[in-house]
Symmetry: C2
Subunit: 213 residues, 2 copies
């Protein structure tokens, strides 16, 4: 099979990864454009899962069915992640000390910064020379495991349009955001895609697509 | 149970009902922005189905599995349809004489025009006084059966945002359009939705959502 490059994202039914108003400026204003309510509806299925709760130190308990298994598999296959600077900046404020990756994470940025090691095995490495460099660094450290393009939407779009993504999973929750950050925007329209796998739960659909070369 | 108002649409993975360039001006130029190739990829699953082929007089044969059953059920439940003028104008050029509805079809338009009866039981009725009037006329003639909001995207959005839709089915095909007519745009973000039913075939996902009041 070999090492894969993938992304795995939660998306509103109208195609947004984040609601309007969910930006660094308004992280402390959950009522601003109701971003917190919307984000909560999008992600509530994941906050119920045992694996997610343990990994983010949210407490024990939680569901242990198919949805949980999917999350655990996604975590276990990931040998390194790549994310944009805005996602990192938000995460830096939101993640626990013991950040939930437990692997090397490449952060795409123009900022020069030393690698930042966290308890629990996560090390953030700041990459200044573009998406392909970040990917080859991630592939090296991921070993036998896969490389996850963690987000945000713009970073996902860059890798997808560059033809560097092997497969991706979309978790669609039945909620409308109205406005926000679209997952897909001006996406390369000549990709050859196939449905690889699909699961449906009571309140989320999980569909994995693979790109054929 | 009672009579329902629904829509049932095919959508690209990036959320478009129609690719850029697929307009009346370019119907005879299939290479214009590759609209025909994209549209073909979106709809190829449906052109393979026995029921669809028979109903559009495309010839006998075709698949008779789950996808076919879904199409047949959707047709059979529909007692009347509502569509926008642009969809009607395109259809007037594309449908066979014996138009594929076989019921009353309300066409939303500012144009005054006599009802237009087609062989096979389809009658187009031109409604000039808005979406609620069209809906109540459709509900009257649909009898025990349901009312389908046939499209296009703008008409679907109007009914959805007015809170007049009971359920809807999205057929997602793994194709990207890049640009086009989005199904959802500025959608009312306080709707309460639930997944009602989902099927996955080899190259399309069918998910039905219901709106809770």
């Amino acid at each position: 099979m070999g090492q894969k490059v993938f992304f795995d994202v939660m998306v509103s039914l109208d195609g947004f990864m984040a609601p309007e108003g969910m930006t660094m400026d308004h992280l402390n204003e959950p009522d601003y454009k109701h971003w917190m309510r919307k984000w909560g509806e999008l992600t509530k299925w994941v906050f119920r899962q045992q694996f997610f709760r343990e990994n983010l130190k949210l407490g024990s308990g939680g569901e242990a069915g198919n949805d949980n298994k999917l999350l655990e598999e996604t975590f276990n296959r990931t040998g390194a992640s790549i994310m944009g600077k805005r996602m990192f900046d938000a995460g830096e404020r939101m993640w626990p000390e013991d950040a939930p990756f437990h692997t090397r994470v490449m952060v795409l940025t123009h900022q020069m910064r030393e690698a930042w090691e966290r308890p629990g095995g996560t090390t953030f490495v700041f990459v200044n020379d573009g998406i392909e460099s970040a990917l080859s660094q991630a592939q090296k450290v991921a070993g036998e495991r896969d490389v996850r393009i963690a987000g945000g939407a713009n970073v996902v779009q860059q890798y997808l349009n560059a033809g560097l993504v092997d497969e991706f999973t979309i978790h669609h929750t039945p909620v409308f955001f109205g406005e926000g950050v679209p997952l897909f925007s001006g996406t390369n329209d000549v990709m050859n895609l196939r449905i690889k796998r699909a699961h449906v739960s009571s309140d989320v659909t999980h569909v994995t697509y693979e790109t054929l070369r």
